[in-house]
Amino acid sequence: MKKRLIILLILVIAVPILTFKVYSEESANLPTVRILSSISNIYEPVKFDHSIHTMYAGNCMTCHHEHPNNANQCKQCHNIDESLFKKTAVGHFIACSSCHAEPDPSNPAMPGLKVAYHRKCFQCHRGMGKIGIDPKGCTELCHAKKGNIKKASIK
């Protein structure tokens, strides 16, 4: 019981502080709510709120790749335009879709965009509600079926 209380206390104090810290650093290009709608023909678009997620995750690296500061220049390993980074929050991260696109059989190690998204979501969401246990779990939390907008709230 005591342990729980302590954890809760830490969360209550630490999360706003961390959030504030991140936010203050990113004031220029604050990641905001993104609407993910690539399969909106089947499902209602997913509203992805960066602020909530960074709050829970405590950082960006949980979802975005990041290299240590002393890493080589991007171009030595990736085929990425470095200028993309400058437009973003802390200058380290870019949108998933900048690299993850349609899956390419000639490069199977690179997940497609859909897979990249879901893998990140499942890090935490698998096991929440019925996600990962019942196919209906998917529609419960994130993907409302088209014309049937009834999102269950997370516990």
């Binding site: 899956p103 059989p105 000639s106 490069n107 199977p108 190690a109 997940p111 859909k114 897979v115 990249a116 998204y117 879901h118 893998r119 499942f122 698998r126 096991g127 019925k130 996600i131 990962g132 246990i133 019942d134 196919p135 209906k136 779990g137 998917c138 529609t139």
Partner: protein
Amino acid sequence: MGNRFSRRDFLKTTALVGGSILAGGLKDAFAYKEFKGWTKSYGMLVDLTQCVGCRSCEKACNEVNNLPKPDVPFDDASVFEIERRPTAKAYTVVNRYENPKDKGKPVYRKIQCNHCNEPACFSACPIHAYTKTPEGAVLYDPDKCFGCRYCMIACPFYVPAYDYESALQPKIVKCIFCYPRIKKNMLPACAEACPTGTLTFGKRKDLIKLARKKIMENPDRYIDHIYGEHEVGGTSWLYISGVPFEHLGFPTNLPTKPLIEQVKGFLGAVPVVFTVWPALFGMCYAAVRHRMETKEDKKEKKEERK
């Protein structure tokens, strides 16, 4: 290998002879003739640690291949209560197994044709209704099939299904690796639909490297085995798992050689029987006859003497 790849061998030989005449070199023609499988074939890496049992693959497969409506809707988890298998109505199904590591996260396994490198169904078929395409897909032609179902006996994975219901046009039903889509440089429907990255489509040899890398980088997450790399001579579909494969309904008593190897010794004896037997038994007949004739001769001589 017998005549198994005879057409290809023929083309290869023709090309070789033609080529060597043109190039003036016989190096290739002298090389040991050995078929090592289709080296550029595609495959599918199934990472069973990723699957969440959403059945999107089942649904996509059903739609793309115009299969009949499923018995249980695709978003109904009650299907997992019994272990299913591919049927005459479904190329693929997903089953749920208990996870010994974590009871809250069951393991799901998709079953479909594994598209063996040297398929037992192909070896079994007396009419050549099966083909192993260079792309990796094992295809079946119902126009040739007479319904002996020996392929079902032979398949080590219990994959081919048969529509026994039909009196006039019964046929084998199994996954076709979305061959028409692969030909159009599209992903197989299941791989395209899979949201979790359980299914990764690519060249088989790249997938093996990827699977090795995954296992090496996450030794706690995976057991150190790529199912399908060596089983029955290798399959186009490869699996990596966090749980031993025998817990997930995979047959684990299979040889690493292609199953046709089990039969080659017998098939090799056939021409011997065809050539040696007539000589052997013809001689027996001649010997017996000769003995009888000499006996008769002796009898006659005796009678003459009298």
